[in-house]
């Protein structure tokens, strides 16, 4: 049995605490009284994963067993989450591969010939053949690539189908092949509570026309948080869309949940609580820290991006979307939820090297912003960890680095939009349409490996709730120019950052540090 989450109050005996900062980390001595929020210990993984998958497919929730839904002559489309999940990518074999293999076996047994596999990458970049192969495995890849295994193309007008509008007037337009199938089997990995459920098909296979109804400033300002579906306007929109598309196509949903084993050896100390580090862990920390600091940037980048997580799978659930997702959320909460009492004046975050959009790529400043003010700020249920008007202090070097192939519209967004304004609403009304419909970005999205032109805007909206909630944002160790471009201030040390935050929150603020990764969802009472 693993231990529940913990809120530690820093006292004289507390050792320095680990803080991530991009492709590196440091030990920070937080001021006495700082609350440090740890997730529950990593849950044990399933021993018999194959058996569990089979069991889930044969005894689904709210649905006939999968074999009963399969018949000869039918059209079957298997959709799977793209490389934005999980983070870091899972050590091979990926659990999606294991699920898909079983689904395909059952389909073969039932004599289903018309099978296609589509990645639910929405407006994310296409995955390279190697990346797809990593997810679906060698066997599936060789049998289906490239004709019957492909990326979803949200700009292929011929391969999109409009299903009308929800009762709120939201367009639902998704992948034609999927909608015109007799059955969609969605294979999902749930890393955080935001993912999965109604979101999977409604977002993963949608087009810009459909996505703009929930990926906008208004919706995100009313998603508090987007990791708490009942209180997330965004998820309400997903639900309406899912409801509408369920009228046209049946979805058999398979969701997998993972434990918190995010870092492989020799970095496994990153998964542990600092005062429980053994001598070996401490030695490993010192060695890793030293090597990491000394390594040339390129080599360091390769090591971090090459990391594959030794995740354990904690649950596999299959069947009707709603019922499956309920179980999934429970499993996610079991692994990530830590109860916290009350908000604080200052929230501190260590931002790691990875977010959903820079796998095998470069973490650019806009992604850093969205990781801090979007993903991590929203890792709460109930109330934000920081009070309204409070300050956020985040650690990241924030270099002005971009991947020219993956993030071309980000570069232009950074140079042309952020130089004019950082206000999400202004950005949305003034620039979104232009970037979203720009033929060059569309061309790159479809033919190269670029995120869609509108994607940096979504990243910016992701932080909209935090921006209107917070009184100040200070970036420790950040490039000053970059921080200022984002509208923030940079500080060289935590002490300086706290000094600066004093203008907003007074001389003796209450402090909270969210110790993540591994993933921690704060349940703020």
């Amino acid at each position: 049995m693993s231990r529940p989450g913990l809120v530690l109050e820093v006292d004289e005996r507390t050792p320095p605490i680990l803080v991530h900062e991009g492709e590196g980390f440091r030990l920070e001595r937080f001021p006495l009284g700082t609350r440090v929020i740890y997730p529950p210990d990593s849950l044990p993984g399933l021993r018999d994963l194959t058996g569990r998958i089979r069991d889930a497919l044969l005894n689904p929730l709210g649905s006939e067993p999968l074999p009963e839904l399969l018949r000869s002559g039918m059209r079957l489309t298997i959709v799977f989450d793209d490389l934005s999940l999980p983070l870091p990518p899972m050590r091979a074999p990926d659990v999606r591969q294991r699920v898909i293999e079983q689904v395909l076996e059952m389909a073969a047994a039932a004599g289903v010939d018309d099978v296609e596999l589509i990645a639910g990458n929405a407006l994310h970049r296409r995955m390279t053949p190697a990346e797809i192969k990593h997810i679906v495995g060698e066997r599936v890849f060789t049998s289906f690539w490239p004709d019957r295994l492909r990326n979803h193309d949200a700009e292929d007008r011929d391969d999109l189908k409009s299903l009308g509008q929800t009762r709120h007037g939201e367009d639902v337009e998704i992948n034609r092949r999927a909608v015109e199938s007799d059955l969609i089997v969605y294979v999902n990995i749930n890393l955080v509570a935001m993912n999965g459920g109604a979101k999977s098909v409604a977002v993963g296979l949608a087009s810009y026309k459909s996505l703009r109804h929930h990926h906008n400033v208004h919706t995100l300002r009313h998603s508090r948080s987007f990791n708490d579906p009942p209180n997330s306007a965004m998820h309400h929109s997903y639900d309406r869309m899912h409801e509408l598309l369920s009228e046209s196509v049946r979805v058999f949903h398979i969701e997998c949940t993972l434990n918190n084993d995010q870092f492989p050896s020799p970095f496994e100390f990153l998964n542990k609580r600092e005062w429980e580090w053994t001598l070996k862990d401490q030695a490993k920390f010192l060695a890793a820290k030293r090597a990491n600091d000394l390594a040339p940037a390129g080599a360091r980048h390769r090591v971090w991006q090459g990391m594959r997580a030794p995740y354990g799978v904690t649950g596999v659930h299959a069947g009707a979307t709603d019922q499956v997702h309920e179980r999934t959320l429970a499993a996610v909460h079991r692994q990530q939820l830590t109860e916290v009492h009350g908000q604080s004046d200052v929230l501190m975050l260590g931002l790691p090297y990875l977010c959903p959009y820079n796998v095998n790529s470069v973490m650019n400043p806009i992604l850093v912003y969205s990781l801090g003010l979007g993903y991590y700020f929203n890792m709460y249920r109930g109330k934000p960890l920081v009070r309204e008007g409070g300050a956020l202090i985040m650690y990241h070097p924030m270099k002005s680095e971009f991947h020219p192939l993956h993030h071309p519209s980000y570069i232009d967004f950074y140079e042309e939009v952020l130089t004019q304004t950082t206000d999400p609403a202004t950005i949305e009304t003034k620039y979104e349409e232009q970037y979203a419909t720009d033929p060059w970005y569309v061309h790159l999205y479809r033919n190269s490996y670029a995120y869609h032109g509108v994607h940096p805007f979504y990243m910016w909206y992701w932080g909209a709730h935090a921006l209107s909630h917070l009184g100040d944002v200070i970036c420790v160790g950040a490039d000053r120019k970059v921080a200022s471009r984002l509208g923030f201030r940079a500080a060289s040390t935590l002490a300086d950052a706290l000094e600066m935050a004093g203008e907003t929150v007074g001389r003796s603020p209450s402090l909270t540090y969210l110790h993540t990764p591994p993933m921690t969802l704060a349940d703020v009472r």
């Binding site: 390279t128 190697a130 390129g298 390769r302 095998n360 470069v362 680095e401 971009f402 991947h403 020219p404 192939l405 071309p408 570069i411 232009d412 140079e415 042309e416 130089t419 004019q420 720009d438 033929p439 060059w440 061309h443 790159l444 033919n447 190269s448 490996y449 000053r480 120019k481 921080a483 200022s484 471009r485 923030f488 201030r489 940079a490």
Partner: protein
């Protein structure tokens, strides 16, 4: 106003030449403002599209006439000019037309401006032009039955390189001007003929080829001819300089002025002749206003160079005399001399200078100028406050020459070295520094050449006649240099006048901005004017992408084979690298033709598929984001975007959607395989320019309002076609050219450049 001068010139007609010059302007102004009873005839050269009358109008708009126009009123001033000034269009170096009969006085101020002109040009103006003019004056006088008075404007330095006191009398030399003139004219023919010898032309063409080879054959031809003309001019300048020195004059200017005097004496032996020899003429002491000056005169570049902190050493003798005289005193002397008609055959001579009665030594000049700048330093142009004044060392002639020689050789070497080095941000930085230092050395050289003869002469020009003349002039309008207070003149009048233009720029007051959080203020987003008839022409390799033909080929080969075969693929290309480099240096077309032979036998469909699926990403990764953004903003403004490249079309495909027109090289295909030859000659250098011109004509594109982007000197012909050329990360040669032509220079960079990250990606892909 003086009665005597009034008496002398009232009711008379004065002919002026050289009226657009410094002294000429002041003369005309004084005649208009101070001699209401005097009529003026001016000789003015017509310029293409500008008549002599229009030139007079331009002239009258100049600052020298401002006080007079203001006093009189614009309309009245125009009326007076119409009434009293006649214009005779003429170029005295060509021929002198018949002059109005009523000319009473001819003040001949026209002369060649340069000190080192080709010998024949110097003679044409200063000797031939003078004789022709005086003949015409005599004929006009004969027609009217009078003997017009000729006032010949010379220079004190006609005395030549000598020491001691020079009296006001005819020059002491035995040189026969007619013989010298004959040989000067002959020299032009000889030099022109010599410059057309095959050995010479071959040498010039080789030099032009080395410099301009990459820009194409037309550029080479034009450059060869330019070099020939330059060499002819230089040679004729040498002829002039050496002849002058051999006869005892510092340069051909003073030699021809001296011979011009002799010619004048002979031509006008039956006319009244006054010869006026001013020294170094500088800004006005009083009239038309203190400090009036037109352009920079002899001492001024030196003063400015000092003020700008560029002058640290100067060749000259500290106690040598710098014979400066304000322009209004010269004008006073000229008009005074014009009013005092000597007997025909007994010319009057006047030295107008300060050396005899109020000498200013070089040492004192330097001190006063230093004092002025210490009090009023020039504002810096870079927002870093005023320019720091420096001490100036006075060097002896020999030492200065040695130092300069060394500096020039070093500059030359450094420049050549930089042209060989590969281009980059650092090389461009060095080039910038060199450009600046080069300016300093060139300035020093110029000063040395100029002041070597004039600045520190140990000679005194006697001015008894001028002083006597001064007695006939009214107070405040005289020509006695003793009234000049050098301290006052240099620090209150002259230096402020010379530096005025440099102080006009508004002082730099940066807005205060938060110091810690903000970086450089973001440059405003580029927005072009919306136009349909404007094109933006881009080169590919090096301009849009950080790669080239060879790299594209290598990627194509490498991505097609497993990693373990990479060495085998790389080796043959690497082995040929020196050969390719040599060829590229010689002729890009030759290199391209040779290189594409590597595609011989390659399957077209396969290469196209490879380019589409794998190479596209390499190319996009290597593209500068700024370049892509620039192309897109041109498109957003409705401009036609054009890609002009020698790269094979297969590799251009990924960028095709950015362009309205793409012109790339095509390889010949037979039975689905490349033959290793081009389908058409690849478009390089001038071929691109020619294509662009004809394309623009057909499509109705306005090239003068268009844009072109290139990185290599071979892009120069294309860049020259448009009104807005941009040199992107230019190679040293193009950088130098762009700097000289004041083209925009763009530094585009990003993570794009790093081959290592790219290699990673390729490795990843290949696995």
């Amino acid at each position: 106003m003086s009665e005597s001068v009034h008496d002398g010139l009232a009711g008379r007609t004065v002919l002026l030449t050289g009226v657009t010059g410094f002294i000429g302007q002041a003369l005309l102004e004084r005649l208009l403002s101070g001699h209401p009873g005097t009529r003026v005839v001016t000789l003015l050269r017509e310029r293409p599209g500008v008549t002599a009358e229009q030139r007079l109008d331009e002239l009258l708009a100049k600052p020298v006439f401002a006080p007079w126009r203001e006093r009189t009123g614009e309309d009245a001033a125009r009326e007076i000019v119409r009434d009293r000034v006649r214009v005779v269009p003429a170029d005295i170096t060509e021929s002198v037309p018949e002059l109005p009969d009523d000319v009473d006085v001819a003040i001949h101020g026209a002369s060649i401006v340069s000190f080192d002109p080709p010998i024949d040009e110097a003679f044409a103006t200063n000797v031939v032009g003078t004789i022709d003019l005086y003949e015409a004056v005599r004929r006009a006088g004969e027609r009217a039955g009078k003997t017009p008075h000729i006032v010949h404007v010379s220079t004190a330095y006609v005395a030549g390189s000598r020491k001691g006191i020079v009296p006001e009398t005819t020059l002491d030399h035995e040189v026969d001007w007619a013989t010298e003139l004959e040989y000067a004219v002959e020299a032009r023919r000889t030099v022109e003929r010599d410059s057309r010898r095959p050995e010479v032309l071959g040498r010039l063409r080789a030099a032009a080829l080395g410099e301009q080879g990459k820009a194409g054959p037309t550029a080479v031809a034009a450059d060869t001819e330019r070099r020939r003309r330059e060499e002819v001019d230089n040679r004729l300048t040498d002829y002039g300089r050496e002849r002058a020195r051999s006869l005892g004059w510092p340069d051909v200017y003073t030699l021809t002025k001296a011979l011009g005097e002799r010619a004048a004496e002979e031509t006008a032996r039956d006319l009244p002749l006054s010869i006026v020899r001013p020294a170094i003429v500088e800004s006005a002491l009083r009239h038309p206003y203190p400090g009036w000056i037109d352009g920079f005169k002899m001492a001024d570049p030196l003063i400015l160079a000092y003020g700008q902190g560029m002058l640290r050493a100067l060749a000259g003798i500290p106690d040598g005399i710098v014979d400066i005289i304000p322009v209004d005193m010269v004008v006073n002397a000229l008009l005074g001399a014009a009013a005092q008609v000597p007997e025909p055959g007994a010319p009057a001579y006047y030295h107008v200078g300060s050396g005899a009665r109020n000498p200013l030594t070089l040492q004192r000049l330097v001190e006063l100028v230093q004092g002025y700048f210490a009090e009023h330093p020039l504002p810096g142009t870079d927002g870093r406050g005023a320019i720091r004044p420096r001490d100036v060392t006075l060097l002896s002639d020999g030492r200065a020459e040695k130092m300069l020689g060394t500096a020039e050789r070093a500059m030359d070497l450094a420049e050549r070295a930089l042209l060989i080095l590969p281009s980059g941000e650092r090389t461009r930085g060095w080039q910038r520094t060199l450009h600046k230092q080069g300016r300093e050395v060139r300035a020093l050289r110029r000063f040395r050449d100029l002041y070597g003869a004039y600045g520190a002469a140990e000679v005194v020009y006697a001015d008894t006649a001028t002083v006597a003349l001064d007695r006939s002039l009214p107070d405040g309008a005289g020509c006695d240099s003793a009234v000049i207070d050098w301290d006052h003149y240099l620090r209150e009048v002259h230096c402020p006048a010379v530096t005025g233009a440099f102080r006009l720029a508004p002082p730099h007051h940066p807005q205060p901005r938060p110091a810690l959080t903000s970086g450089r203020p973001a440059p405003p987003a580029v927005r072009f004017e919306e136009r349909r008839d404007v094109a933006a022409v881009f080169d590919l390799d090096g301009t849009i992408v950080a790669s080239d033909v060879v790299e594209a080929h290598l990627w194509a080969r490498l991505l097609d084979v497993p990693v373990r075969s990479w060495p085998g693929t790389l080796l043959p290309v690497l082995r040929s690298a020196p050969r390719y480099l040599r060829m590229e240096h010689r002729d890009r077309g030759e290199f391209l033709r040779e290189f594409v032979r590597r595609y011989e036998g390659a399957n077209e469909a396969r290469l196209r598929a490879l380019a589409r699926e794998r190479l596209a990403d390499v190319l996009l990764r290597r593209a500068w984001p700024q370049a892509i953004r620039r192309i897109r903003s041109h498109r957003a403004a409705g401009h036609r975007t054009v890609l002009l490249t020698g790269t094979v079309d297969v590799f251009v495909e990924p960028l095709r959607t950015l362009f309205d027109d793409v012109l790339a090289a095509r390889l010949r295909v037979v039975d689905g395989h490349f033959t290793g030859h081009f389908e058409h000659p690849p478009l390089i250098g001038e071929a691109r320019a020619a294509w662009l011109r004809s394309w623009a004509r057909e499509e109705g594109v306005d090239l003068a309002a268009s844009w072109a982007y290139g990185d290599h000197y071979s892009d120069r012909p294309v860049l020259e076609q448009v009104g807005n050329p941009v040199a992107v990360n230019p190679d040293p040669r193009l950088y130098r050219h762009a700097k000289r032509e004041r083209w925009t220079i763009a530094d585009w960079d990003g993570d794009t450049g790093a081959v290592s990250t790219l290699l990673d990606a390729a490795l990843e892909e290949a696995r």
